[in-house]
């Protein structure tokens, strides 16, 4: 996996690069928007980590240019500019995720992995969660390498949950995902699918029911982190 870090602060650029390398990324660094645009034209990048406050070409303009060129590279914005307005603005222009300074490197790595996972999914790569591995092309779920017998709907639900690990997923989102077919899906049906999936997998693979909200699949490929006062903003 190849990622470009665009950050003019040397300490931050270096730290982010080091962390992402540890997370198995190949990293290039650019310290202004123009250089970044030039580097990206060569192609082959799976992720762009973009600071908004840059000399020459600022982050938002760079992103707008990329999207204008039909470049769909996943973009994680990092900014000292707060306010949700800024965040919404960034996401509207085409950022995939937004991280506000000060952040933890661990958080950058987690978000970067999640972005690539979601993007890669369309590229046919597998989704993993502990002992489970999902093969999107074959629509197959394997437990410890052995294929499991799941109904097509259950597989679709499982796929959606695996794409959105460490995120709150509500029933409406699952229904939207499933409703491409003719019959409408009810909340009760979603609950049935989930309970069948649990029964068939047969062990606690990290799926939590969040009362009144939906489901949360905790990925088991991260080391547990100590509690901290970090808020996600």
């Amino acid at each position: 996996m190849k990622a470009l870090v665009v950050e003019d602060n040397v300490n931050l650029a270096k730290s982010i690069a080091t962390t992402l390398r540890e997370a198995a990324f190949n990293i290039d660094v650019a310290d202004d928007g123009k250089k970044a645009l030039h580097i990206l034209e060569q192609g082959g990048y799976d992720l762009l980590v973009l600071d908004l406050g840059l000399p020459e070409l600022d982050g938002i303009s760079l992103l707008r240019k990329l999207r204008h060129q039909q470049n769909t590279i996943p973009v994680l914005i990092i900014s000292a500019r707060d306010s949700l307005d800024q965040r919404i603005h960034g996401l509207e222009v085409g950022a995939d995720d937004y991280l506000c300074k000060p952040f933890s490197l661990e958080e950058v790595a987690a978000r970067a992995r999640a972005l690539v996972r979601r993007a890669k999914h369309f590229g046919g790569e597998t989704l993993q969660c502990g002992r489970l591995e999902f093969f999107p092309d074959a629509m197959e779920l394997r437990l410890d390498g052995k294929p499991m017998l799941l109904h097509r709907r259950e597989l679709e639900v499982m796929e959606y949950l695996l794409i959105n690990q460490n995120r709150l997923v509500n029933k409406d989102q699952i229904i939207d995902r499933l409703s491409t077919s003719d019959e409408p899906v009810s909340y009760a049906a979603v609950e049935t699918y989930i309970s069948r999936i649990r029964k068939k997998i047969g062990y606690d693979f990290g799926l939590k029911t969040v009362r009144g909200l939906g489901y949360y699949l905790e990925s088991k490929d991260q080391e547990p982190t100590p509690p901290s006062g970090q808020t996600y903003e």
């Binding site: 300490n11 962390t19 707060d82 709150l168 969040v210 909200l213 006062g229 808020t231």
Partner: protein, 460 residues
């Protein structure tokens, strides 16, 4: 403590005092004029009586006599009241009839002379009249004196004065009532201004309407000017706060990032524990900076209520839960959202309302366990009835010492000094709640744990 001056009593005093003085002056002059007029009228009547008496004198066998029964004396009186005395005698001294004790006039004259006299303990008004008469062929001068007690005059004057005074009192009372009404009406715009100010929320610094009468317009303009300055002062303070927080973000990010890298590079080194401490402090600082910015922003937005819109609290709660969920589950806690009935929309600011909910969830996540890390469920509940909508965020943790509950919304107060909070979370929540006219209630739950309720007035 000196008594506060009142415009109303001042006006009353300055209307009432001149009015009383005028009334007294009017009464005195009326009294003088009346007494004078009454005296003249009564004097005329008295003279008339004397002239009538004069006509009753006749001569019989060279002796002057008077044709009057003793008891008809009273008919001489002007109004038949009071006592009448008379004396008729020749100018040379021979008494003809009447009371010889009546005193002579102070001056002798051919014209009628009026004078005051005292007789037998009576205050009398007398008239003396001298006229020529023929006794047989001998001409004599005859003097007639008629005196009348003054009671009738006094009574008449008194009657008049009593009526006049009564009229004055009634007019005075009427005038004071009219003055009170006028003062009330005149002060009404002033009362309207003070009421408008009293009914404002403490954060409303909008200008007052300046359609007031021109007398209080300068006051309103001064108030508006003051509010404008307060607004600017608050805004500049918030801007400074925001700038400072903003400028701190990048350096704190650097410290955090470099510390994280250094920690990984030096697992066995003696500096490891120091680095861990630096990391903890940097995390705390970054959290505080973020909260300070939010605090500044919510304060800033309190001043300006222009970007309020219809807000769906259910969606706000769901978004806040989705936003906080990764952190909550990473720490082994759970989230739940209970919705018992449909919730009407409220008028509010969606961004700050989401901060309110995320702050309450983060607050529970950080503090519910007391000195231990919390391992339980954080429940968000929305309920509604006709008048209000209640948002409750509760935990099943160790609760808070009752004595400290009131202090929780103070800035930088942290009831658990060991937890990594900024001490701003509930202050921000309170600020946002206040901006939405909502009431913040903090309490321990009967079944254990802590609960924060935000009660919004229903706008439906």
């Amino acid at each position: 403590m000196s008594k506060r001056q009142s415009i109303r009593s001042r006006l009353l005093l300055w209307i009432g005092l001149p009015f009383c003085a005028l009334a007294i002056l009017a009464l005195i002059s009326s009294h003088l004029l009346l007494s004078h007029q009454i005296n003249e009228t009564f004097d005329d009547l008295l003279l008339n009586a004397a002239q009538r008496l004069e006509r009753r004198i006749y001569t019989a066998d060279g002796v002057l006599r008077i044709n009057m029964h003793y008891f008809s004396v009273s008919t001489l009186g002007s109004r038949g009241e009071g006592k009448i005395f008379y004396r008729i005698k020749e100018a040379n001294g021979n008494m003809i009839a009447g009371f010889s004790g009546l005193s002579d006039p102070p001056t002798a004259s051919h014209e009628p002379v009026f004078y005051d006299v005292n007789y037998a303990g009576n205050e009398l008004r007398a008239v003396a009249l001298t006229f020529p008469f023929n006794r047989g062929s001998e001409p004599v001068n005859i003097e007639v004196i008629v005196a009348e007690s003054k009671e009738a005059r006094y009574t008449l004057t008194n009657d008049f004065m009593v009526t006049l005074t009564g009229l004055m009192v009634v007019t005075g009372l009427l005038a004071i009532s009219i003055a009170l009404l006028a003062i009330h009406l005149g002060l009404a715009p002033l009362n309207a201004v003070s009421q408008a100010l009293r009914q404002r929320s403490p954060n409303d610094l909008q200008a007052l309407d300046d359609d007031a009468p021109k007398e209080i317009l300068p006051l309103i303009q001064s108030i508006n000017h003051l509010m404008q300055r307060m607004k600017r002062s608050i805004e500049s303070t918030q801007q400074l706060n925001a700038d400072v927080s903003h400028q701190l973000r990048t350096p704190i990010s650097e410290i955090r990032a470099l510390t994280e890298i250094a920690l990984k590079d030096t697992p066995q080194s003696p500096v490891h524990s120091s680095l861990q401490e630096i990391q903890r402090i940097a995390e705390h600082a970054s959290h505080t900076v973020k909260q300070l910015l939010k605090y500044a922003k919510t304060r800033n937005e309190l001043v300006d209520s222009s970007h309020l819109e219809k807000v769906d609290l259910v969606a706000i709660c769901q978004e806040a839960c989705a936003q906080t969920a990764p952190n909550i589950y990473k720490q082994g806690q759970e989230l739940a959202f209970d919705l018992k009935q449909p919730i009407p929309h409220i008028i509010g600011d969606p961004i700050t309302l989401r901060w309110l909910v995320t702050n309450l969830i983060d607050n529970a996540s950080l503090h519910a366990g007391g000195s231990h890390a919390y391992q339980g469920t954080i429940t968000v509940v929305l309920t509604a009835d006709a008048d209000q909508i209640v948002l409750t965020v509760s935990d099943e943790g160790s609760g808070v010492d009752e004595a400290q509950i009131a202090k929780l919304t103070e800035r930088f107060f942290r009831h658990n000094k060991h937890s990594p909070g900024s001490g701003l979370g509930l202050a921000i929540v309170e600020q946002i709640a206040t901006a939405h006219s909502a009431i913040l209630t903090l309490s321990n739950r009967h079944q254990g744990g802590f609960e924060v309720s935000v009660t919004f007035p229903s706008t439906a």
